[in-house]
């Protein structure tokens, strides 16, 4: 248990250090680490996003659960929950297939955190929401279709 937590923190790398130092006012945010997967966040095609995440061969899994409305009236704020039943879940990534930028968020979980997260996303149009889960270095995915009445990304 303890060693697992250390591994997760190490995977987060200097991110933790940035946060801690910034919190006590030692480090300027500009000194932050770059654990952010920039290629994934800048991907404008879904295939590029998956490639950047190393997730082309991720296994579809019923143990990754997405809760989202079937129909979202307002694409500016759609509530999405992702929960993982996979042991040792280390990371949850939320992707929105038809948005201009595909990766909405990547969550790196400590051992203290229950492997479930709820947030709100913008959705440009009706599309699939994908959830990618990394557990012990392996990747699992699930998706869910959401119909959007009024798009929320703007042009």
């Amino acid at each position: 248990m303890d060693s697992r937590r250390r591994d997760v923190l190490r995977a987060g790398g200097a991110a933790g250090i940035w946060s801690v130092l910034a919190a006590v006012g030692i480090a300027a945010p500009a000194q932050a680490r770059d654990a952010r997967n920039v290629a994934a966040f800048e991907a404008t095609t879904f295939d590029d996003a998956l490639r950047a995440l190393g997730a082309e061969d991720a296994a579809e899994s019923g143990a990754v659960r997405i809760v989202a409305p079937d129909v979202a009236e307002d694409g500016r704020a759609v509530t999405i929950s992702v929960a993982s039943d996979i042991p040792r879940t280390e990371q949850i990534v939320v992707l929105i297939e038809e948005n201009p930028y595909k990766v909405a968020a990547s969550f790196r979980l400590s051992g203290a955190m229950a492997p479930a997260i709820q947030t709100r996303v913008k959705m440009a149009r009706s599309t699939r929401v994908h959830a990618l889960v990394r557990a012990e270095g392996r990747l699992f995915v699930a998706w869910r279709e959401v119909t959007v009445t009024v798009g929320g990304c703007g042009t």
Binding site: G12, N37, T79, T119, R120
Partner: protein, 103 residues
Amino acid sequence: MSTPTRIRATRKDGATELRMLLSHPMENGLRKDAEGKRIPAHFITEVSVQRNGEIVLEADFGPSIAMNPYLAFSIAGGAPGDEIVVSWRDNLGDSRSDAIRVV
């Protein structure tokens, strides 16, 4: 400058449930204003949540996260007086940190 993050922390069944509402426009850089000029991208890129100085969650955000980002999740254990700190940083280099005590 920026508006404080609203944080709720409630203990329930041996865990601490956290809900937070960050205040941020989360502009994706693709919208245009009334005059047809593009509104520059301005969005939170990183969030960290700590309990008593230990990181419990780190998140990277893209511009698809909705305006005034909301996060809800649960962490094991917890006691009254625990300090919860929520910090964020955005693509323009702004940042802020807010703390509450678990009641």
